[in-house]
Symmetry: D2
């Protein structure tokens, strides 16, 4: 977790979002092994797909619009889309 | 926790350092209420003092030199020295 | 300019704000030597004072409300107030 | 340039590296239109390739090992590899 920007991504995924993404999703880059929702390393969603799911919720996943700013949602979306499956 | 740089400070203090600073210290800005070590909001240490304690350990507090990089220690030191007591 | 958060502060002060703060102000931490406005290392303003000047403008200094987000103004204000005069 | 982490990437590419990457390379995400070296939006290099070129230099491009830390080189490499061609 050397760089600060990497820390921003990591903490957004594992701690800042409530409930944390890591509770339900697997994403190796974030050392996350949640087994409730889709495995992000397999789904490899693009940023627009992640952001839409976070804004509106999808299936059992709640909307994060009241929890995170639009900018924070974009941060998570950029992060997930760039590191998933690597 | 609007800005990313603020998130870097917050996460460094509450999560990245192991054990986390917040477990033992009180620092209102970090929503930390630990009661084991000195209350940082009262001690108001400067950055050099924080960094020295983190590098070498002091009293019951362990050294963080094996856990954090020199740069990460400086980040925590800058953070604590600028927000303590505000 | 080791840490990313320090880079955020430095670039906000010297490049992102238009016109850049560094053109008019002296702030040693940002390697800025502007001689048009007050020397920030001497003025040592608190964050609220910096933010107010940036939002509303003051004297010959223009408002930055149309150029920077509220969050970016807070970033510059935090930065200037914590490093000025050190 | 809303997020701080995006600012870190942008400033690293356009200002911190000396000479700046943007002087020689085109990368739309960084608003960079240099025409000396390869167009990064077409080359779409992965992070390892960018980091290697920056560490060792390649052709007319100098090594950045004396200018940037290993961590800063990794930051630029991650940035270029994730935004090129988008």
């Amino acid at each position: 977790m050397a760089s600060d920007w990497a820390l921003v991504f990591f903490c957004s995924f594992t701690q800042v979002a409530k409930p944390p993404c890591a509770v339900c999703h697997t994403l190796a880059h974030a050392e996350a092994g949640g087994a409730v929702g889709p495995v992000l390393d397999e789904l490899k969603p693009d940023a627009a797909r992640v952001a839409k799911a976070m804004r509106n919720g999808i299936g059992a996943m709640p909307s994060y619009s009241a929890v995170l700013s639009a900018e924070q949602i974009d941060t998570v979306a950029f992060y997930v889309s760039t590191v998933s499956g690597r």
